[in-house]
């Protein structure tokens, strides 16, 4: 039983990490109807920026404090992400406004490739460390109820808290601020929003910047856990089943979806895996998403999709 719970918790924690990436997807889809295949590349890019700036700033400006390096690196990386958002809007999005979904999807794929290439050219392609002081030792809990206690990763717990915090911040942003309201209007109907004076271009830059921010947060947490390396953008592909489960338009859905996928993956690997030869993690999330798509395409919390003639 203890083992089951450990696996479950481990899965839930990984799920939260997926959610961090998925939140970025949902943000952009909610506000611009674009399915951003480049989200994974953005996570990698942001993580690379953070890691390298934290390494370079002490050398360039001659100080020792790791904390100061991290803070400055965070600000710099955020600035870079805003620049990326602005460039994406200016060079790509604004010129593809009236195209169909598949074109926009392909464009974000192109952006993903571009970001991958640029990131590795600018920042290098080794494995880099991010050290934001995350505790690496595991936590032993519930030693009273289970023999030897349950092993939980503190790092993952903090990640979960950060993800939850991010959701709360974003929810407040969307519901309570004027910009958030404008974003929701744009998500509903671009032309109508434009006709009441909402500056579409600026809104999109804001959205992609916010998505960039969530990519940076996700990148820091994943990078701290795994080291910043190219495989990060592949991990991010996992976020797709997460948003399918949770619903493309729901941020809380991204969390729930992430938890389900994470737990499901780990549990199925341990309990189902041996029957099928192992390694089923690579497809479990997708097949689960496929089942969902057949049964409830809008996900758990998404809006129903209606076709009108």
């Amino acid at each position: 039983m203890g083992f089951f719970l450990e696996t479950l918790f481990g899965g839930l924690m990984v799920g939260m990490l997926y959610s961090l990436i998925a939140i970025g997807f949902v943000l952009i889809y909610k506000a611009s109807g674009v399915f951003n295949f480049a989200q994974g590349a953005m996570v990698l890019f942001a993580a690379l920026a953070m890691a390298r700036f934290a390494e370079w700033f002490p050398l360039w400006f001659g100080f020792q404090s790791q904390v100061l390096a991290n803070i400055l690196a965070f600000i710099a990386a955020m600035a870079v992400m805003v620049l990326v958002a602005w460039l994406i809007e200016r060079l790509a999005l604004s010129r593809l406004v009236n195209q169909e979904g598949i074109t926009l999807l392909m464009a974000t794929l192109g952006i993903a490739y571009f970001l991958d290439g640029v990131g590795q050219t600018l920042f290098g392609n080794d494995i880099y460390k991010i050290d934001v002081g995350m505790p690496k030792e595991p936590l032993l809990v519930l030693q009273g109820s289970f023999e030897g206690g349950l092993l939980l990763s503190q790092e993952d717990l903090i990640a979960a808290l950060v993800a939850a915090g991010l959701v709360v911040v974003l929810a407040i942003f969307f519901q309570k601020t004027a910009t958030g309201r404008a974003l929701r209007a744009v998500a509903d109907d671009h032309q109508a929003a434009q006709s009441i004076g909402i500056p579409l271009k600026r809104i999109w830059v804001i959205v992609w910047s916010v998505a960039g921010f969530s990519a940076l947060v996700a990148g820091i947490i994943w990078g701290s856990k795994l080291g910043v390396q190219f495989s990060l953008s592949l991990v991010a592909l996992k976020a797709l089943p997460v948003v399918i489960l949770g619903g493309l338009t729901s941020i809380p859905g991204a969390i729930i979806g992430g938890l389900l996928i994470g737990a499901g993956e780990k549990l199925s690997e341990i309990y189902l895996g041996p029957l099928l030869g192992g390694g089923i993690e690579i497809w479990f999330a997708y097949v689960l998403a496929l089942v969902f798509l057949l049964v409830r395409p809008q996900g758990l919390f998404g809006e129903k999709i209606i076709d009108r003639v």
């Binding site: 979904g101 290439g117 395409p297």
Partner: protein
């Protein structure tokens, strides 16, 4: 003034419905085929045939298959690599497990297996579209990645999923040398291109395009959405499966599941988009572009007189690649095929401006 239709009047519908109604086009195609079948084998180096032309042909075929699904029927698929893999591994199984199985039969049977899997993973398209369908096809991709790695029966009990074939021949004629491989692929591709072109200009092609353009109206005029979508998946997967078998048997000789990974799926999708959605010729243009671009980028620094590390070169290639995708989608979303037909329109009027 050379490329005019003046004087070329069609007096029957049959004449009007030819694949190449303009005489100049027919001459051009005849010349192209002549070059492809005769000049190339005689004049081009083995390296070029092996490393560039043969892969180009096979990838064009796969892009053709994908174009039918995405360009003509409007169904997104990110799992093309999976169907190539099914074609390759299925053909492999027929080839090694049945003594004396002819090569062409193995390949066609491999294609049929890909058809079955394709239709299976096409069933979601009856309920979902667009990016949702894209995610469903990703399930196919990752599932087959795993299946050919872990399910040992598929790979004749190879532990790493890698297999190889040797001693290929057709009716006693060996397919070993670069020229033989090239000609074999060329014949297969020309035949399939012809069949595909016939399909897209027939009733089924119109059904596919109707589903792409407006599926609600399509149902109202009596088109069966289920039949249209599933046949698109079926035909597309068949072609892609045969291409996969060609890729494994002819081009690689020995392969493992990674040869058909998600990168391959993306590569084929880029070919179709850059080449032109909904255009048979576009598939060839796209394949040529994607095959030649890395070569070009590799040679460019040398021509310009400086050298860069291979790692940097590969990063730059990825960057330029991504940028070009976006560029194409902005400037000409209908791809190279549209640029080509626009050029032909201008050529018709040349030397007059309008």
């Amino acid at each position: 003034m050379f490329y005019r239709e003046n004087g070329q009047f069609k007096s029957s519908y049959r004449a009007d419905q030819q694949i190449f109604p303009i005489a100049q086009d027919r001459i051009a195609i005849a010349l192209l085929l002549l070059v492809a079948f005769v000049v190339v084998p005689l004049g081009v180096s083995d390296y070029w045939m092996r490393a560039i032309l043969t892969p180009f042909l096979i990838l064009s075929l796969a892009a053709l298959g994908l174009n039918i699904l995405v360009g003509y029927c409007g169904q997104i698929s990110l799992g093309t690599g999976a169907f190539m893999a099914v074609g390759a591994y299925a053909a492999y199984n027929f080839h090694v497990r049945i003594d004396g199985m002819p090569l062409i039969a193995s390949m066609l049977l491999g294609g049929l297996c890909a058809t079955l899997i394709g239709v299976l993973f096409g069933i979601p398209s009856l309920r979902i579209k667009g990016l949702y369908l894209a995610v469903a096809t990703l399930a196919a991709q990752f599932f087959t990645d795993w299946a050919f790695l872990r399910i040992q029966w598929f790979t004749n009990n190879s532990s790493s999923g890698s297999v190889s074939v040797a001693g290929l021949n057709v009716l006693g004629m060996p397919i070993e040398s670069a020229v033989q491989k090239y000609i074999f692929c060329l014949v297969v591709v020309v035949v399939f291109a012809l069949l595909a072109k016939n399909l897209v200009r027939s009733a089924i092609g119109r059904e596919w395009m109707a589903m792409r353009d407006m599926d609600v109206a399509a149902a109202v005029i009596g088109i069966r959405p289920v039949y249209a979508k599933l046949t698109a998946f079926a035909v597309s997967s068949f072609i892609v499966g045969v291409a996969g078998a060609l890729w494994g048997f002819i081009h690689l000789g020995a392969w493992e599941p990674a040869a058909f990974s998600i990168d391959r799926s993306f590569q084929l999708l880029f070919m179709v988009i850059i080449g032109g959605l909904g255009s048979i010729m576009g598939s060839f243009f796209g394949a040529a572009f994607i095959v030649l671009l890395p070569l070009f980028l590799n040679q460019l620094p040398a021509w310009l007189g400086f050298s860069i590390s291979t790692a940097l070169a590969s990063h730059l290639e990825t960057m330029i690649f991504g940028a070009l995708i976006v560029f194409f989608l902005i400037v000409e979303p209908h791809g190279l095929a549209r640029l080509w037909s626009t050029a032909k329109e201008k050529l018709r009027l040349w030397p007059f401006p309008h």
